[in-house]
Symmetry: C2
Subunit: 121 residues, 2 copies
């Protein structure tokens, strides 16, 4: 099946829906909070992603409410989305761990020249 690896903005979006349902604008605010102010999801990314994730069944429309005469859609994680987010988070953590481990492994042997010394040129 080899599905494409989820990108971070998408992952942040799903994370923003992990604890409770939210509507679009609230999601952008939540993402800013999650990323400690580092990531501002533009509406172009947001609404495109929402549509895509709906189609993929990772999120669902929790309810629709009318506020000030305008339709507001509140989204929620689907069961599939929840499972997927769990898997992605785990995989991401593993990748990050491995990167840190290797970086640490290197710095521990300090400036040791790589085993394979210059073999011609």
């Amino acid at each position: 099946m080899t599905q494409r690896v989820m990108q971070e903005p998408t992952l942040l979006l799903l994370t923003a829906l992990a604890d409770e349902p939210r509507h679009g604008y609230a999601i952008t605010q939540e993402i800013r909070k999650i990323s400690d102010g580092q990531v501002t999801m533009r509406t172009g990314t947001l609404y495109g992603a929402l549509e895509r994730l709906l189609k993929q069944g990772l999120i669902e429309v929790h309810r629709e409410e009318v506020v000030d005469g305008r339709l507001r859609r509140v989204y929620t994680l689907s069961d599939t989305g929840r499972e997927r987010l769990e898997a992605e988070a785990e995989r991401l953590a593993a990748t990050a761990r491995e990167a840190s481990r290797r970086l640490g492994a290197f710095s521990s042997q300090a400036t040791g020249s790589p085993r394979t010394s210059a073999a011609t040129a």
Copy 2:
């Protein structure tokens, strides 16, 4: 500077160079190992990424050797690349942690197998 967030294949590539210098094909094999057999980096991604990362100064040509009459380039992480990888790994870990935390917060009220119990009104 608002640089684009690094994608996972790129991060895996840098990780594959974190402990010791490697040439292209060795990198793909290492990535497979790192990802526990889940990610196979195609040559299209690989050589494109290598060129890009060279241009960005995140990796360097460690040495060039001639094997079987063919040029083989061995790449290594630059100091910048090492710092960048550290930062990315940290950020990734934080994101993954936050996702898990929120998922956990939710599942604490609905622990057990993810049932399709649509309690959502």
